[in-house]
Amino acid sequence: MRSIAMGAGLLLSLTAPAWADRVAPLTDPVTLKACGECHMAFQPDFLPARSWARMMDSLDNHFGESAAMAPDKVAHIRRVLEEGAADRVGGKVADRFLRWVAPGGTPQRITENPAFLRKHDFPAREWARAEVKTKSNCPACHKRAERGDYEED
C-alpha cells in the first residue's frame, strides 16, 4: 500500500511541473461557441459548480449586459460547466482557486479570486495595454489559454 502511494507520489511529482498551470480544455462545441462569442470561453475549473449555476441563472444581466439564450441551450451549458467545475473535478488549479471560496459562496468573477490576483500583480499600465484591455482577456498573454494551458509566456 505504501509503495503504491509512494510510486503515485513520485509519478505526480514528475508530471506536476507540466500541469501546474494547466486545466482540462473546454471541448463542448455548444459551450465554446456560446461563451466564446463575446469572451474567451473560460474552463469551468476556476469556479465551483454553484457559481456556474448562479451565472447560468442570471444571464439576463451577465456582468451588465444581456446574454440571454434559449432555455435548452442554457441547460446544456449549465450542465457542462457544473460537471467540469472546480469542486467536481478537483486538481491543482481547481484546489488553488477553491481555497479562497467561502463555503456556500458563489463568486462570479474569476479575476477577483486571490489565487488569480497573487499571480497577476502587475502595474496598471500592463493591464491598460491595448491588446490586453481587460483582466478576463487571458489569451492576450497566455497564448494557449483557450486550450487550458496557462504556463507563463
Partner: protein, 286 residues
C-alpha cells in the same frame, strides 16, 4: 523510380489518376461545404485529406511511367494544362497547409480563408480549360467520346453554378426577413415594408440606458463594414454589414438571440419585428 524505365504505362495508371482526382475533388468539396464552426471536425478531416491527396500526387508521379498519365509533365500535352495543374495543386496544397496552421493559430484563419477562396476560383478555370482542350480533340474523333469526357467538367461546372449563388445569395436571410415582415404586418396592418433608413437610425442612435454600450456602433464601429470589438472584453466581432460578412443574418436562431440580447442591453427595450427587419435591411444595404 522503379517504373520510370518502362516505356509503356501500366494499365493501373489511368484508373489510379482518376481515383486520385476523385479523392482530391471530393475532399475539397467536403472541406468547402463544412467550412463552418458547427462542422469543424469534418472540415479539419477533409483538409488533411486534401493535403495528403496533394502529397500523394507527387508520390504517384515518381512511381508512374515517365511519360504515362501519372507523370507531372509529358510531351504532347498542352503547356497550359501542365501549368494549370501545377498552379491549382499548389494553391490547393497551400490552402490546406494554411488550414493546418490556422487550426493551431487562429490568427491565420483569414489567410486560410483567402487562400481557399483563391483555390476555389481556380477550379472553374481548371474545368473550363479541361473542357476546352479535351472537347476540341475529341470532337474530331467521336462525338460519343466527347460526351463522356465532358461529363466530368460539366459536373464540376454544375457544382460551381450551384456553389456561386450559395456564397452570394441568401435564401436563409430572405426567410428570416419574410418572417419578420409577417410579424410586422400582424402587429400593424399598415406596415409597408422595411426601411434601411429606419434601421440606420437604430444603429447610430446614442442611448442612455447603459453607459458601457451607448450605441450599436460602440462595438460594431461607425462603419459596419469594418470588424468590431466588444467594448468590454475586446473580443473581435466580424463585420456587421452583409457586404463584408455574407454570413450575417443567415442563422435564424442566432439572429433572434442577438436581437433579444443587444436590444435589451443597448436600447433597454425589446426590438419589434419591424425594428429587426429595418436593422437587417440597413446592414444588407451597406
Amino acid at each position: 523510380m522503379s517504373g520510370a524505365a518502362r516505356a509503356v504505362p501500366g494499365r493501373w495508371e489511368l484508373p489510379a489518376l482518376r481515383l486520385w482526382h476523385a479523392a482530391l475533388a471530393g475532399g475539397f468539396l467536403v472541406a468547402w461545404l463544412t467550412a463552418d464552426e458547427d462542422t469543424y471536425r469534418m472540415h479539419v478531416f477533409a483538409g488533411y485529406w486534401v493535403l495528403i491527396a496533394v502529397a500523394l500526387r507527387l508520390g504517384l508521379a515518381t512511381v508512374g511511367t515517365r511519360q504515362g498519365p501519372l507523370a507531372l509533365t509529358r510531351p504532347g500535352r498542352s503547356r497550359l494544362m501542365i501549368w494549370m495543374g501545377g498552379v491549382l495543386m499548389t494553391m490547393v496544397g497551400v490552402a490546406a497547409l494554411s488550414g493546418v496552421i490556422a487550426d493551431g493559430k487562429s490568427a491565420f484563419e483569414d489567410v486560410h480563408e483567402g487562400l481557399s477562396n483563391a483555390a476555389l476560383w481556380l477550379i472553374p478555370a481548371h474545368a473550363a480549360l479541361v473542357a476546352w482542350v479535351f472537347q476540341g480533340k475529341r470532337l474530331r474523333d467521336k462525338v460519343i467520346g466527347a460526351a463522356r469526357v465532358s461529363a466530368v467538367p460539366m459536373l464540376l461546372l454544375a457544382g460551381l453554378v450551384l456553389a456561386v449563388p450559395a456564397q452570394a445569395a441568401d435564401p436563409a436571410r430572405d426567410a428570416i426577413l419574410a418572417g419578420y415582415a409577417k410579424a410586422a404586418k400582424a402587429a400593424d396592418p399598415g406596415f409597408g415594408g422595411f426601411s434601411a433608413a429606419r434601421g440606420e437610425s437604430i444603429y447610430r442612435a446614442r442611448n442612455t440606458v447603459n453607459a458601457d454600450y451607448p450605441s450599436c456602433a460602440t462595438c460594431h464601429t461607425d462603419d459596419p463594414t469594418q470588424p468590431g470589438r466588444h467594448a468590454k472584453t475586446g473580443r473581435e466581432i466580424a463585420p456587421a454589414a452583409v457586404s463584408a460578412n455574407p454570413k450575417r443574418f443567415t442563422d435564424a436562431e442566432k439572429v433572434e438571440e442577438r436581437f433579444n440580447r443587444d436590444c435589451k442591453t443597448v436600447l433597454g427595450r425589446e426590438c419589434s419585428a419591424r425594428d429587426r427587419g429595418d436593422f437587417i435591411a440597413f446592414l444588407s444595404s451597406k
